[in-house]
């Protein structure tokens, strides 16, 4: 168990990186609390797997340090870092039984047979695989294989952190939630720091206490699922998290108001900064309908179960609103009302309004 600290971390796959565009990871500074559950969320190619491999020691970063409980492990090989990693595709040793698979990391470290047996039985019980201990691992279903590769990580009681690299990719949808809740349960039992890499927001938001959202090698926001949803620090977070994502509407900023398609919109607080490109960000959940407000033309209404997604045009800009009742007809003219508490201005992508003092 350890606190993990990444300090001024940068990585490039090129031998002589010229500018920021050559870096797969740009300047990462994060501290992860001992025993926390974290998710690294971002689209493919955002650098999250690179970051994971740096933490596990499969890659050595070009610059910066990794500290486990203030011990510098930057150049330590993976087996000396006491970490465990579960990969996208289940890695199991085909010729061994399930039990031998689970015992393998302990055996390699010369642990005595009695302890090995105790730990393997414990982990098998935790993972509900006790009845499979003597079967050959090669014949198992993907979800059981993934459980075994997880178990190989958890079997050591000295693990600093367990890392998951999109572990549910090959699992059938109906088993995904089962495995996910198993993970959550395991986290509560073993209390190791867990880092979960995924591009699926549902997985990230349900698993983690804190989510790290990454884009193009940069961390754009770290926060609890609620924070990410309620107050995105970057338009990317707003757009990436939530379904449908946040509306990002070109606007002009004027004090604590924004002018969007000629209409004035109240913001959560005063804007700061100058120049750059400004956008008004508001989640569809906070766009309502009323008798007055911003006139809009409804283009499409989709019923997605619990609520309706209304697509509308204000001038030449398209936006979406989510509503549970009060459903307008497609083709009709309506008035939209933006919730001021949830209306923000973003300058060059980054948040530029201050929260109004309460």
């Amino acid at each position: 168990m350890a606190q993990i600290k990444l300090s001024n971390l940068r990585h490039s796959y090129m031998p002589n990186p010229q500018g920021p565009q050559d870096y797969a990871l740009k300047e990462i500074d994060v501290t992860w609390r001992d025993g926390g559950a974290y998710a690294l969320l971002g689209p493919s190619g955002c650098g999250k797997s690179t970051l994971l491999n740096i933490i596990s020691g499969l890659l050595t970063p070009s610059e910066g340090q990794i500290l486990f409980d203030d011990q510098d492990v930057t150049i330590l090989p993976p087996d000396q870092r006491n970490i465990a990693q579960v990969f996208q595709f289940p890695v199991i040793y085909d010729t061994m039984t399930v039990g031998e698979n689970l015992a393998f990391p302990l055996k390699n470290r010369g642990v005595d047979p009695a302890t090995i047996k105790r730990r393997v039985d414990e982990i098998a019980e935790m993972l509900d695989v006790t009845d499979m201990l003597d079967t050959r691992a090669s014949g198992l279903s993907p979800d059981n294989k993934q459980k075994i590769s997880m178990g190989r990580g958890l079997v050591r009681d000295d693990v600093n952190a367990v890392m998951f690299d999109e572990p549910l990719t090959v699992i059938d949808p109906h088993l995904k939630w089962k495995l996910r809740s198993k993970l959550k349960e395991l986290h509560q039992r073993v209390k190791a720091t867990m880092i979960y890499v995924t591009h699926d927001q549902t997985e990230a938001l349900t698993f983690a206490d804190e989510v790290v959202v990454m884009q193009e090698g940069e961390v754009v926001q770290i926060g609890t699922p609620v924070e990410l949803f309620e107050r995105p620090q970057h338009t990317f977070v707003g757009h990436f998290i939530g379904s449908p994502g946040m509306n990002v509407l070109p606007c002009e900023a004027k004090g604590d108001r924004a002018v969007f398609e000629g209409h004035e919109v109240m913001l959560e607080g005063p804007t700061h900064g100058d120049g750059g490109r400004t956008d008004l960000g508001i989640r569809p959940e906070y766009v309502g309908f009323g008798d007055t407000g911003i006139p809009a033309h409804v283009t499409k209404v989709s019923d997605i179960g619990r609520h309706y997604v209304v697509s509308a045009m204000v001038g030449n800009t398209a936006l979406k609103a989510v509503t549970e009742h009060q459903v307008p007809e497609p083709g009709s003219e309506v008035f939209l009302q933006f919730n001021p508490e949830q209306s923000r201005v973003y300058r060059d992508g980054w948040i530029a309004t201050e929260e109004r003092a309460q």
Partner: protein, 287 residues
């Protein structure tokens, strides 16, 4: 997965016709000869299983068979581990990989009698590179035309030179199909290089290794041209392997009956040993 369809036989018909023509007709000829005696003039007399008995009892056949098994055993003993070692130490990607593969495959693409001639030229005392080096530089008395041991070593080294690459290529194909995650997981699990080989690389190479061992067994057991061109079976009969002996009897002495009986015994042994190898090596999968 596959659907039941008897019309599929039409697709197989051309192959069947071709192979049946090439395999069944000659095989019937051989069976026919093997039970008859001839004194020329196309006159044949029923001989029963006499030839088979004579062949199986003859010292000459037993000696050739013994040499054949020794040869094949040594070939497998050297080529399979060597092939695995070379495949393991090859880089897994990079510009050198295709170059390595092409250079390694080159010996397999040389006509078999050229291989024999080539090694003949290579090992000639005084003139050949290897012959000169062994005799005049290292001072070892080496002459393959006089010493049976030298002849054996040369035939074996030649076959290692000729065919180890097949094992390398097959094992390499198995190795590159292992995803990186396996090596990474092994690193994290603290596995030693031996464990990585034993639990990751070897199991993944198993299929191709089975193919490699089978092919090397069949081809080394049936070998004829290269050792015949290199040593002619000599000195004496020391390198007369089964095929060489068979051709001597059939085309040299024109003893059709014994040659035919020997052919059938020979073929049966090849089939039997291949089958045993195959069952042994795939036994684990069946469980």
């Amino acid at each position: 997965m596959r659907t039941e369809n008897q019309k599929a036989w039409f697709f197989v018909l051309p192959v069947l016709a071709l192979v049946a023509f090439n395999a069944l007709v000659p095989m019937m000829t051989v069976v026919n000869y093997s039970v008859q005696e001839t004194f020329g003039n196309n006159q044949f007399f029923w001989e029963g299983l006499g030839w088979f008995e004579q062949i199986l009892r003859s010292d000459r056949f037993q000696a050739a068979l013994g040499r054949q098994f020794l040869f094949t055993f040594l070939i497998l003993l050297i080529e399979v581990p060597l092939g695995i070692i070379v495949a393991l130490s090859m880089p897994r990607k990079g510009v050198w990989v295709p170059v390595c593969l092409v250079l390694m495959a080159l010996p397999m693409l040389i006509p078999w009698n050229v291989v024999g001639s080539m090694w003949n030229i290579f090992t000639l005392p005084k003139i050949g590179l290897m012959g000169y080096f062994l005799n005049d530089v290292l001072g070892i008395n080496y002459d393959m035309t006089q010493q049976p041991l030298s002849a054996w070593i040369t035939v074996i080294v030649m076959d290692v030179w000729h065919w180890t690459s097949l094992v390398v290529l097959l094992c390499y194909a198995g190795l590159v199909s292992i995803p990186d995650a396996y090596y990474q997981a092994a690193k994290i699990d603290g596995a030693s290089p031996w464990s990585v080989f034993r639990y990751i690389q070897l199991p993944k190479m198993k299929t191709v290794l089975t193919i490699a061992v089978l092919l090397r067994f069949m081809d080394s057991f049936n070998i004829y041209t290269e050792p015949f061109v290199l040593t002619g079976g000599g000195p004496g009969n020391s390198t007369t392997l089964l095929s060489i002996d068979l051709v001597k009897i059939a085309l040299g002495q024109f003893d059709l009956g014994p040659a035919a009986a020997m052919s059938l015994i020979y073929f049966a042994i090849t089939l039997l040993v291949s089958w045993v190898f195959y069952t042994l090596m795939t036994k684990d999968d069946a469980q």
